[in-house]
Assembly symmetry: C2
């Protein structure tokens, strides 16, 4: 895995560099450095919970509830980030869960929040939600608005902080890659409001924010959007690795 | 992911360091540096094939034959190494396959080698086989010996080199963690002969050798064997990440 540019070089020379030669760690660093870059420390015996929609779900076996197990974690960024943490922080006795469910919008997280979050009592809660809150308004019959998203998301976090005052929050930016299958100009500029809302909510709840949109935007300097996401919304294996890399950058 | 020791410091101070503070990248580097440390370069449009037993198989969907797809790759080290390569070497148009099958010994690879290797025409062939060649002699009714393993393995590689003269080979060391469930003193010293045979075969076929046994031995400086392998033979998610980390270290 050659790393042909250090980060400083990358930032100063990206405009003129041969695109193919830019190393992915630098791409992720560049994308992430545009965000607040707040980082999070894990403690011994922490329980980490991934929550969200199909991107988090990633085909997990929903009858398996064993922490740290492959079937329960699916095959997406949550699985990849979890495995990396379990390897690198082997002394910490971490317990990692995935409870993402395909198709979910914020109100559907709320419906199952007692069982699928509060009872698990996570010390670290990573949420990525919002693509469906917008997408399903495009002929999917869903009538929620950006205000619904914002209000529901804040209510969900208020409820979480009340039950788990010390929980550390990680909020992932909803992202889409325009021009790839499901994602067209019809998404814009409306979809960007959901991205912005997630960022603002992360700020006001003192959450670590993961700018996935920037990560996918930057990654297209090395390979086309279709390499990173199959349909504009769901990451390929390469894209899931990119997300995990960004997620892990937020952990000290 | 703190990296509290650089590799040179690690090597000189490992004996006195607090074990828990040793970072995994250094552990893998230390383990791998004991091997021949030959490395392999990937070219554009390379096809990479992972072959082996259940450790490689890792629950892959055997009806899915799409290169680079999560279901086809399973959830083991092959999936993890593949995803990392696809992310870091995004410009190379790699095609990555997994054809490991649970329970296989060398002769069973040979039985399906035309369809599951030669027809795929890999430029890079990564094989990890040998645990069952020994294990199944312990009450499993299998009567093959170390000589069977050695002879069958060489025949398989001769056949491979004849059909694919330019193929680059990666050979993974069979490993076991003594004291964890399936693996007892009954395995030793006999099992070590299989490890040694794999290493010698790698040498004589100019293959990159991955010393998985050293990797798992070193990893026990941070967490007990049961953290890295569930039954002494099959890696946990943390262990699979360790294997992928070691595999990736052999790629330039």
């Amino acid at each position: 895995m050659s790393n042909q540019f250090n980060r400083r070089n990358f930032i100063s020379s990206a405009a003129t560099a041969t695109l193919a030669a830019i190393a992915i760690p630098d791409i992720v660093s560049a994308a992430v450095s545009n965000s607040s870059a707040k980082k999070l420390t894990l403690n011994d015996n922490d329980t980490i919970l991934f929550q969200g929609d199909s991107i988090t779900d990633a085909g997990r076996n929903k009858t398996n509830t064993t922490p740290n197990s492959a079937p329960m974690l699916g095959t997406g960024y949550a699985f990849l980030a979890a495995g990396n943490l379990l390897m690198h922080q082997a002394t910490k006795n971490l317990k990692i869960y995935n409870r993402g469910i395909s198709g979910n919008k914020v109100y559907q997280l709320a419906e199952r929040w007692d069982a699928d979050c509060l009872q698990i009592k996570p010390n670290v809660l990573s949420i990525m939600i919002g693509v469906n809150d917008f997408w399903h308004t495009l002929g999917g019959g869903y009538t929620g608005t950006i205000e619904t998203y914002r209000t529901d998301y804040r209510k969900l976090l208020d409820r979480t902080k009340q039950a788990l005052p010390d929980v550390k929050l990680i909020i992932g930016e909803p992202f889409a890659v325009n021009g790839i299958k499901a994602v067209t100009d019809q998404w814009y500029p409306k979809f960007n409001e959901y991205r912005q809302a997630a960022r603002e909510i992360a700020d006001s709840y003192n959450a670590v924010f993961i700018p996935y949109q920037s990560v996918f935007d930057e990654a297209q300097k090395t390979a086309p959007g279709s390499y990173w996401t199959a349909d504009g919304v769901h990451p390929t294996l390469a894209g899931a690795n990119l997300m995990a890399e960004a997620w892990l950058k937020m952990i000290k």
